[in-house]
């Protein structure tokens, strides 16, 4: 068994894990912010898809990864705005709208891709990593964690920032109140509507960046349906993480490892079927749910639209 743990294998595994995990992390964190505020965002996958598309286009046409991420985020925000309009302002059913946005975004990005790139299938050149000196030289993890594009560092830093925000600022307090008993927040003069709006927009931006990461750095190309369930995994992560951003980080890491396990195993010469490996993270989660069997902590007002002064 220990022959498995060669440096090449571990490095390949962890490297792939980070590549696969970052979009999950961003999506999960984004979803967590929305859910905290009481909005169940099933459209997350749609936001990632649009982010992947706009991010890819920007990176391709402007020849800049940073612009790619920016436009990816904006792409996600555009879908989020629809979510805000329909669910936060008009109070329509969040789940139905979420499914609609995901399906629509899936079709739209695939459609646009068909008309734009299906003949050429352009690829992006590999990204220039930002190497952090000294710690970047640690065997095994050095290359994995510290020879990456800055977005990776920023994503992990985001988790830390969020933990602080949730605990020590009004942002965290308002989000939690909006998701628990929104009227309690509203009567203190803080608008539930704008709290939720900003939460959903933040989700859209993060999901969009996650999608752009998947396309530009993970794959180097945009392909229809390429998010392949990462958005839904993000929803799962957020629901299981009980409001703690660090748990999303761990979950994203775990999922990332299992997603990258197939390729790593193949590199190491093992031939376990991809499908078995892909089942692993979900099966693990289901087992945990059955064993631990407690009510997943979900904000009381989740999916319930808030209408001021409703009788």
């Amino acid at each position: 068994m220990f022959e498995l743990l060669t440096e090449t294998f571990v490095t390949a595994l962890l490297f792939g894990a980070v590549t696969a995990g970052v979009p999950l992390l961003l999506a999960g964190i984004g979803e967590q912010i929305s859910e905290k505020a009481g909005v169940l965002n099933i459209g997350l996958e749609g936001m990632m898809l649009v982010g992947a598309y706009t991010g890819f286009c920007a990176a391709y046409y402007f020849d800049s990864f940073w612009l790619g991420f920016l436009f990816g985020g904006l792409g996600g925000v555009s879908v989020a705005m629809l979510m805000v309009l329909f669910c936060v302002i008009l109070g329509l059913n969040q789940i139905v709208i979420g499914i609609a946005l995901t399906l629509g975004a899936d079709g739209l990005t695939a459609l646009l891709h068909h008309f734009q790139f299906s003949r050429t299938y352009p690829r992006l050149s590999a990204v220039e990593p930002l190497i952090i000196p000294i710690i970047g030289d640690i065997p095994y993890v050095g290359e994995v964690l510290f020879h990456r594009h800055p977005v990776v560092y920023l994503s992990i830093a985001l988790v830390v920032v969020l933990v602080w925000l949730f605990k020590r600022t009004y942002i965290g307090l308002n989000l939690q109140a909006a998701g628990d008993v929104p009227a309690a927040l509203d009567v203190t003069g803080v608008s539930v509507r704008s709290t939720r709006t900003w939460a959903v927009i933040a989700t859209g931006f993060l999901a969009g960046v996650g999608g752009a990461f998947l396309a530009n750095i993970g794959a180097g190309i945009f392909v229809p349906h390429m998010i392949h369930g990462a958005g839904f995994i993000g929803i799962v992560l957020a629901m299981l993480a009980r409001g703690h951003p660090t748990w999303v980080l761990y979950g994203a890491g775990l999922f990332g490892i299992s997603l990258s396990l197939t390729t790593a195993l193949q590199v190491a010469g093992f031939n376990i079927p991809t499908d078995v490996v892909q089942m692993l993270p979900f099966t693990m989660v289901i087992f945990m749910l059955i064993l631990l069997g407690r009510n997943s902590y979900l904000p009381a007002a989740l999916t319930l639209p808030y209408i001021r002064g409703e009788r």
Binding site: R168, T169, Y170, I171, L173, N174, Q176, A177, D180, V181, A183, A184, L185, D186, V187, T188, G189, V190, S191, P299, A300, R308, G309, R311
Partner: protein, 524 residues
């Protein structure tokens, strides 16, 4: 006496679809005065309050605060104008701590400043003379404590100028009401204008300086402090009743007079000497945080008796009701019906034996809002004859039955197929009464059956209860209105912190005894 006016309402009107909630209301609220806003349910008090709190905007009229016309377009505007509101239903986030709830309202730019908040918290604690743990989660507090936190919250941000209390005493013991009175007087000395919204005449008289009466959305009259000090209690109350109902002073409103209708009592007479039909022995239940479970509750109810359950809301009444009808399992003890142990019977089985349960949570539990009145009337007997044959639903028969019930119980509705959620609260309650007190009802548990109803419906509800008892229905009546219990019940058991701390004969003058039991004071 010249008083400065804190708020002037001029010609305030508000319309909702199909309802005129406020009609051209003009009145002044003065600083340093406790001003009662009195009216029965549906008179328009809540709407006026929500306008002052910034939740709704008036369709006509102006609000003048300290000489300047103001628009209260949002709760923030209301707070900025110095108006703090304590709503009837507690608006606190259960998953946040007390201090976090109080800190809510800061701009997202600010960092949380716990120190400053804690010191303000302690200030208010001493002003109100209460002790609460600031770090406790609101979800774990009792209802009375939550209300105290609510009052603190209103004072925290807004209430320097005006404090509005919307029906604050529903959760309080008689002593608690007295304490609230002290708090209000303290605030009054500090120049705060207090608006005290209530439908209870007695309270308005005892606690307030000025009494304004609303009826059908309009302002119909006022008793100012001078007049009040000149008239005696009975005169004042008669005058108020006249304003509220435009009838002569001889209204026998048991609700606020505490009088007992002797004729009715005699109809019931002798109920106590009959055999004991319902017995609870050492019943205990387990409770989640925020709930109150039962501890070792024992009592007996005679056949055909009306057994009242008194107590502050949240002292185990809910669990008691649920345990009796089988909706909740007990962790210890027994329930007996006519000598037979029925503890193991589920709710549907008990229903077959004649148990009926009118829940206090009408909309959340009692009805299915989107389904028709007809469906709701039969929802507790799905699958049974005569409306189901071999599992098939006989809709025509059900609709015909519903039409009969609607007519019989005077339920105001466009049709029997109307979704029940569209009906007014009073009509929903009529439907629930129709469902629960039917021909085969033998033991009926009623949880706050008249809460939130307007006076007419309260009367008919009480009539229905009396009528059921006269037919021999054994009734357990849970209520937070002492006058109601004394009027209707034969004996009253008092709940305190999940225990039945005493059983008292229901007669005039037992209020103080019951009141002290409600606080756990005397346990003999």
């Amino acid at each position: 006496m010249h008083r400065t006016s804190a708020i002037e309402l001029r010609g305030i009107s508000k319309f909702f679809p199909g309802v005129i909630a406020n009609k051209d209301i003009t009145l002044n609220i003065y600083a340093g005065e406790i001003h009662a806003l009195l009216g029965e349910n549906g008179a328009g008090k809540s709407t006026l309050i929500s306008i002052l709190a910034g939740l709704h905007q008036p369709d006509a009229g102006t609000i003048v605060i300290e000489g300047m016309e103001r628009q209260l377009g949002s709760p923030r505007d209301s707070l900025l104008s110095g108006i703090g509101t304590v709503f009837q239903h507690v608006l606190l986030a259960p998953t946040l701590s007390v201090i976090e709830n109080l800190m809510l309202g800061g701009s997202w730019r600010n960092k949380l400043d716990k120190e400053a908040s804690l010191s303000r918290f302690n200030e208010l604690c001493s002003l109100l003379a209460v002790t609460i743990d600031p770090e406790a989660l609101v979800g774990s507090l009792s209802l009375g404590q939550r209300q105290q936190v609510e009052i603190m919250r209103a004072l925290w941000r807004g209430g320097e100028r005006v404090l509005i209390l919307d029906e604050p005493t529903s959760m309080l013991t008689p002593q608690g009401v007295v304490e609230l009175g002290h708090v209000m007087k303290r605030l009054r000395e500090n120049g705060v204008a207090i608006v005290f919204v209530t439908h209870k005449l007695r309270e308005a008289y005892e606690l307030c300086d000025r009494i304004s009466v609303l009826r059908n959305g309009a302002f119909v009259g006022q008793i100012n402090p001078d007049a009040r000090s000149n008239m005696g209690e009975k005169e004042t109350i008669d005058e108020i009743i006249r304003m509220m109902f435009d009838k002569g002073g001889q209204i026998d409103h048991d609700a606020d007079h505490g009088g007992i209708d002797a004729t009715v009592k005699s109809v019931l007479g002798g109920a106590q000497s009959g055999p004991n039909s319902l017995i609870a022995k050492e019943v205990s239940t387990s409770a989640l945080p925020g709930e109150c479970g039962l501890s070792d509750v024992s009592f007996k109810v005679a056949n055909g008796e009306i057994f009242g359950i008194a107590g502050i809301d949240g002292n185990g009444q809910k669990h008691l009701a649920e345990v009796l009808v089988g909706q909740r399992d007990l962790t210890f003890g027994q329930i007996e019906l006519d000598g037979e142990d029925i503890t193991a019977l589920k709710a549907s089985q008990r229903r077959e034996r004649g148990f009926r349960y009118l829940t206090d949570d009408r909309v959340g539990e009692g009805i299915i809002s989107d389904h028709s009145i007809a469906t709701n009337l039969v929802v507790k007997s799905i699958g049974e004859d005569p409306y189901w044959r071999y599992g098939f639903t006989m809709w025509r028969a059900i609709f015909a039955f519903a039409r009969r019930q609607i007519e019989r119980y005077d339920i105001r509705t466009p049709s029997e197929r109307t979704p029940i959620g569209r009906l007014s609260g009073g009509n929903i309650q009529k439907a629930l009464f129709a469902r629960e007190i039917d021909e085969e009802a033998a033991i009926v548990v009623l949880n706050k059956p008249t809460y939130g109803l307007d006076l007419q419906n309260i009367e008919s509800a009480r009539d229905r209860i009396r009528e059921g008892a006269s037919r021999g229905i054994t009734t357990v009546l849970i209520s937070t209105e002492l006058e109601e219990l004394i009027d209707l019940a034969d004996r009253i058991g008092v709940m305190y912190q999940g225990r039945m701390v005493g059983v008292v004969q229901a007669e005039a003058g037992s209020e103080s005894r019951i009141g002290s039991l409600m606080t756990g004071a005397s346990l003999n």
